[in-house]
């Protein structure tokens, strides 16, 4: 129930970084997520498809790599100008 805050923070940061680089579309996002992060990977996908900047994420592939503990890391992303 608390996960939305963390997903929102991650996506806001991602959008900010992409905009600064002049991205028109983010094509791939790679996230490391701990088994005790208490975040459902589906929430991340749902958020990207329904957030204010959903156009930026159109067709975006989301890779979620399992990690240890409570980790939540925005590892990398790919974008088109």
């Amino acid at each position: 129930m608390h996960e939305i805050k963390f997903v929102k923070a991650l996506v806001e940061d991602l959008v900010k970084r992409a905009r600064e680089l002049g991205a028109r579309r983010i094509t791939r996002v790679r996230i490391k997520m701990g088994e005790f992060s208490e975040i459902d990977p589906e929430v991340v996908r749902f958020y990207l498809q329904n957030c204010d900047e959903k156009d930026l994420f159109e067709g975006c592939g989301v890779e979620i790599e399992p990690a240890q503990g409570q980790t939540l890391i925005l590892d990398s992303f790919e974008y088109e100008e």
Partner: protein
């Protein structure tokens, strides 16, 4: 060809705040000031639909791990209202005793673990382990004491199991009552020591008169378990008309609804209860108020914590009186009930609607259920105290910020955090990490 960017930024996944204070001040004028609540809705009212009214209290107690007794008791009250059941005097006294333990548990947690670190100018309760070991040990001992008493009454200290529609499935035996009395007599000394500790502590000075809402009664009892709903602006309504008290409305920046009554906002909780019912407190609680320099009417929201401490004195004294009365007059064990889901139809069921109104530690709590002729819930509504306080917190912030603008951003942040924390909101445990976003603090 897509470009690749390596980021590798870690986002902490511990609970660190579901609330944000957003402040934007330009040339001494507030452009924006709001308390954002971004906690996801939990849909308990939807979960209740289709379930038996006889299991509602077990479901709704899960709304909160701290206020699970209040949710159970208000749920049972609403169910009994719908079914037309009046609890016995013995049941009502035991329910009052149970609610007192929750009030003590929650207030002790708030006073010691959440507020004291602010007043001692440390980041959290943990550094106090080194500097104030005795105080920390006392706090933990007090919490254990009320949890143990709660367990003797309700079967366990969170999510009570013995309290059901019609009464209790198990009533405390004499040796358990004696054990409760010993623990409560010991707790009384620790509550007195807490009053001594807080005598020397200064709270921020700030005043904003608002409307205060709490349960009210015509007799001499300090109303916590039941009563009408009253306000300091002279409103008084039967609990069935609670929607005319709360007048809920939606704001874009909060997933929790806001409320208002006669003014732009109102406050619930210990300060509201004392502003309405101070005369009905136990005499020793009134003495504690005098020792702490607390007088009513009181319009300083920071003193909600002091009001909670005064209520602790009342609750421990009243608990001792209830237990002593049971020890003197005995308990009627023929009142033990075995209801389950009412499979045997021992309780007649009819279609209807019922409302419960109970003072939870953070303020008046409402549950309303509509049931069909089989006892299935077809509609539910729960309004919790924190929702009712959010609008009032925002109005407090709007008055406070211009008064403290000359302070550093760090001091403003602390005073705002302390203000939110004073209300002991259900997002309280996270407000120690509450984000204060200064969109701008631009000077002339």
């Amino acid at each position: 060809m897509p470009k690749s960017v390596k980021v590798n930024v870690e986002y902490l996944t511990r609970v660190e705040g579901h609330g944000n204070i957003v402040v934007d001040v330009e040339e001494g004028t507030i452009k924006e000031c709001k308390l954002e609540i971004i906690e996801s809705p939990r849909f308990f009212e939807a979960m209740l639909r289709g379930r038996s009214i006889f299991e509602a209290q077990h479901i709704t107690s899960r709304i909160c791990g701290i206020c699970s007794c209040a949710h159970s008791l208000v749920s049972i009250q609403a169910a009994e209202d719908a079914l037309g059941i009046t609890p016995s005097h013995q049941t009502r006294e035991l329910r009052r005793l149970l609610l007192h333990q929750e009030m003590l548990d929650s207030h002790i947690l708030h006073i010691y673990i959440l507020v004291l670190p602010d007043l001692m100018r440390v980041k959290s309760f943990v550094p106090l382990l080194e500097t104030h070991e005795k105080v920390v040990r006392r706090a933990l001992k007090m919490k254990k004491c009320v949890n143990d008493v709660c367990e003797l009454i309700a079967g366990r200290h969170i999510h009570p199991i013995t309290t059901v529609i019609g009464g209790f499935t198990k009533l405390p035996r004499r040796h358990e009552l004696e054990s409760m009395l010993r623990m409560l007599e010991d707790l009384k000394l620790d509550v007195d020591a807490t009053v001594e500790l807080f005598k020397g502590i200064k709270f921020p000075e700030f005043e904003r008169e608002t409307e205060y809402v709490a349960l009210v009664r015509d007799d001499e009892e300090y109303p916590l378990l039941d009563g009408d709903i009253g306000s300091t602006d002279g409103v008084r309504k039967h609990k069935h008309q609670y929607r005319k008290i709360t007048n809920e409305f939606i704001v874009p920046h909060s997933t929790a609804k806001h409320t208002r009554l006669s003014r732009e906002s109102y406050m619930v909780g210990a300060l509201a209860r004392l502003n309405l019912n101070f005369d009905k407190l136990h005499p020793r609680a009134k003495e504690a108020a005098e020792a702490l320099g607390f007088k009513v009417p009181n319009h300083n929201p920071y003193l909600n914590t002091v009001a909670q401490l005064i209520e602790c004195v009342h609750c421990v004294e009243d608990s001792i009186a209830i237990v002593k009365n049971f020890l003197e007059n005995g308990i009627d064990y023929s009142e033990e009930v075995s209801v389950g889901l009412n499979e045997r139809g021992t309780i007649p069921v009819k279609a209807g609607r019922g409302v419960g109104a109970v003072e939870a530690p953070r303020g008046v709590l409402f549950h309303e259920y509509e049931i069909d002729d089989q006892g299935k819930i077809v509609g539910a509504n729960c309004i919790i105290p924190t929702n009712q306080n959010l609008n009032n917190i925002e109005h407090d912030m709007k008055k406070l910020i211009p008064e403290i603008l000359d302070n550093s951003e760090e001091e403003i942040t602390l005073l705002l955090e302390m203000l939110v924390r004073a209300y002991d909101p259900c997002i309280s445990c996270s407000t120690h990490f509450l984000d204060v976003k200064f969109v701008g603090k631009r000077s002339r």
